[in-house]
């Protein structure tokens, strides 16, 4: 699993670069690097469906980000300015929060099954019943379109909502 660790490190470095760099276009490319390394890690954990969807979604996300940045400005003027009072306050708050959150999180993550030993209580049933009862060979497709099809309807609705929302917010004038 050494390749997984390498990509995790790469992902974290790219994430820090994306947040701290001044050129917004470079930040978006680093965002793309994070997204694509997530896609590759999906392949390492045997999730080809996820990898395909993550790649296409990542391409689209980067295209949308770049479209917005090209229509506005690609220099982050706030980097290098002196920190304001509220900012310093929020960094201090955030530091306290991180310490608290990490201790609680690590303690509770230890109570979970270790990495690589999924419990699979319900999932066993899906694997057993998937092909005979729904007829689909891809168990993930069986789950999203038959066993849990309502989630997929909801997902399609979320996308529909955001398309209508984008269309509503890109009107030329709001009021008559």
């Amino acid at each position: 699993m050494i390749e997984l660790y390498l990509f995790l490190i790469f992902m974290l470095i790219a994430a820090i670069i994306a947040i701290e760099i001044q050129d917004l276009l470079a930040a978006i490319i680093s965002l793309g690097a994070v997204g694509f390394s997530v896609a590759i890690m999906f392949i390492f954990v045997h999730a080809p469906d996820l990898a395909i969807v993550q790649i296409v979604v990542e391409v689209l996300t980067v295209v949308i980000f770049v479209a917005v940045v090209l229509r506005t400005t690609h220099v982050d003027e706030t980097i290098g300015k002196k920190l304001s009072g509220t900012q310093i306050l929020s960094i201090v708050f955030y530091a306290f929060f991180v310490i608290l959150f990490l201790t609680v999180m690590i303690r509770s993550l230890q109570e979970l099954p270790a990495f690589g030993n999924a419990t699979m209580k319900v999932a066993k049933e899906y694997i057993k019943l998937g092909l005979p009862q729904t007829g689909g060979a891809n168990i993930v497709a069986d789950v999203i379109l038959d066993f849990r099809a309502l989630d997929t309807l909801g997902e399609a609705t979320v996308l529909f909502t955001s398309v209508i929302g984008v269309a509503a917010l890109m009107r030329k004038v709001g009021r008559k």
Partner: protein, 144 residues
């Protein structure tokens, strides 16, 4: 000259069909191989995006494609919920897989799953294409 250079246009013309067929393959084999309605729909939307980026388009063409895309999106969503409702009306349960299951591992199998994949791909392709049009290509959507 609108759009990009002649080289880009020629290459676009020759590969756009392949992108389309690849998207269709991903959609139709969604119940057998990785992928499915969502990924295939995005790939087909990507083919249209490529065409617009390479050839450019006028304001009127963009307005027309927005209208068409929004109608297609509604139709795809209605198809999907129609599959669910026909489970309710024909067999008594919402989202019941009421079609025959067919031979496993063949293209025509799995009941409603391929139908759902097709509906999702229409919906997602049209929806993401109109997001792209609204955010990247057009200045604003003008209400009539």
């Amino acid at each position: 000259m609108r759009g990009m250079s002649l080289i880009v246009k020629t290459i676009t013309n020759s590969i756009i069909g392949f992108i389309f067929i690849y998207g269709l393959y991903i959609i139709l084999h969604g119940h057998l191989t990785p992928g499915g309605g969502f990924a295939g729909g995005v790939i087909i939307a990507g083919a249209f995006v490529l065409k617009i980026l390479a050839f450019g388009s006028g304001a009127s063409a963009e307005k027309r494609s927005t209208t068409v895309a929004s109608i297609f999106e509604s139709v795809g969503a209605l198809l999907f919920i129609g599959v669910a409702m026909s489970g309710l009306l024909l067999a008594g349960t919402f989202f019941l897989n009421f079609l025959p299951k067919g031979v496993p591992l063949h293209l025509l199998s799995a009941g409603i799953i391929p139908l759902c994949n097709i509906a999702i791909s229409i919906k997602v392709g049209a929806g993401l294409f109109s997001i792209f049009l609204a955010l990247a290509a057009m200045k604003y959507i003008v209400e009539d």
